[in-house]
Amino acid sequence: MRVLFKIMDRLLEQVRLDLLRPHAFAAERVGFLVCGVAKLAPSGTVILAHSFRPVEDTDYVDDPTVGAMMGPGAIRKALEFALNNKVGMFHVHMHDHSGRTRFSLIDARESARFVPDFWNVRPGIPHGAAVLSRNSAFGMCWHPAVPVPIEIDEFVVVGSPMFFTRNSP
């Protein structure tokens, strides 16, 4: 199954700027991309980022072992949003470097913990997590049709100019 992730360049810029804001104690910031979803023929999914919901300052937990730890309030608000809107939710954070990027072990572990919870409130829709670098991206998609999370094959930044990050051939 091919998974394509599309985002407008203006929204991506807004996300990057927000995620680079300093926090009182967290070393990095996180948030959620609110997404529409469509089937791709013959087999696949396109995720369409619509807007960004940053985690509020007060919803971080002071945990020096990780870059950023969301508190229960952050997860609850994101789940509530998915409950009230027919959307896919993609957690997003940033690694502040250029070039290709991947999840850290902690990213992978924490995403696997909370992303499937979105199916409790909004089943049947893909949800996921992504990490941005300054000029690339990587992400995983929890898709209802696939038993294990799958890598997002391609990120397309829609704008002038267009920008493509292909993670698979």
């Binding site: 394509l4 609110v34 089937k39 619509h50 027919k86 829609v158 704008g159 002038s160 267009m162």
Partner: protein, 264 residues
Amino acid sequence: MSQRYARQSFLGPNAQETFNNCRVAIIGLGGGGSHIVQQLTHIGIGNFLIYDADQVEDSNLNRLVGATREDVGLKTPKAVVATRLIRSVIPNASITPVPKKWQESAELLRGSDVVFGCVDSFSERQQIETTARRYMIPYIDIGMDVHDLGTQFAVSGQVILSMPGELCMKCMGFLREDLLAREAENYDVAGSRPQVIWPNGVLASLAVGIFVQLMTPWNKNYRRVWYLEYDGNLQTVATSNRLEYLKEKKCNHFLSVEDLGDPF
């Protein structure tokens, strides 16, 4: 890099890779669309999705690039003509020819990076733009017309880039309710409209120029909205004055998340 593309290497070190990987949809393979297919082929586009329900007729041969007299006799679908043209230059291109109305296989459009619309009616343009916005696809529209002014004919046309998130064709005043309504009233009496090859060639070239700038920004003119007006009598092209009055305007159509993706 292949010598084939050596003369367009100024487009950037990754230009050919970008062209080879990108997925382009072209709706309408007549006078305008056939020119676009031809140019995109020579540029080196690797993935084509091409739609046209029509077959070649004798009256097409004054402008349909790639069509022959034999195609008239054989009633060759225009999608087959376009496929043949692409294959003659890029034998291994990925081509999905759809010899029927695009609306019958609209789901194929969703994975496209850019869609070109070369259709005749306002209503069809509106449908394409709505679909393109839903799946976040830049839409490049071209069209030409010949008007009888009584004392002479006037040839005109337009090229529009409708970029998701930016001004749409309704905002630009190109798609208007009165035009759509008038078109619907006259649906059965449209008849065949005058069409000639050279304005289609001009408009297609402009559209391909906008596409290349989007994909491989070889110059610093990062425009997000294009609305070019062609005057075929004066042989001039100019940015529509309408954009001047819309500088501060933001599109308030297609804003909701429900306007994106499949409706659930």
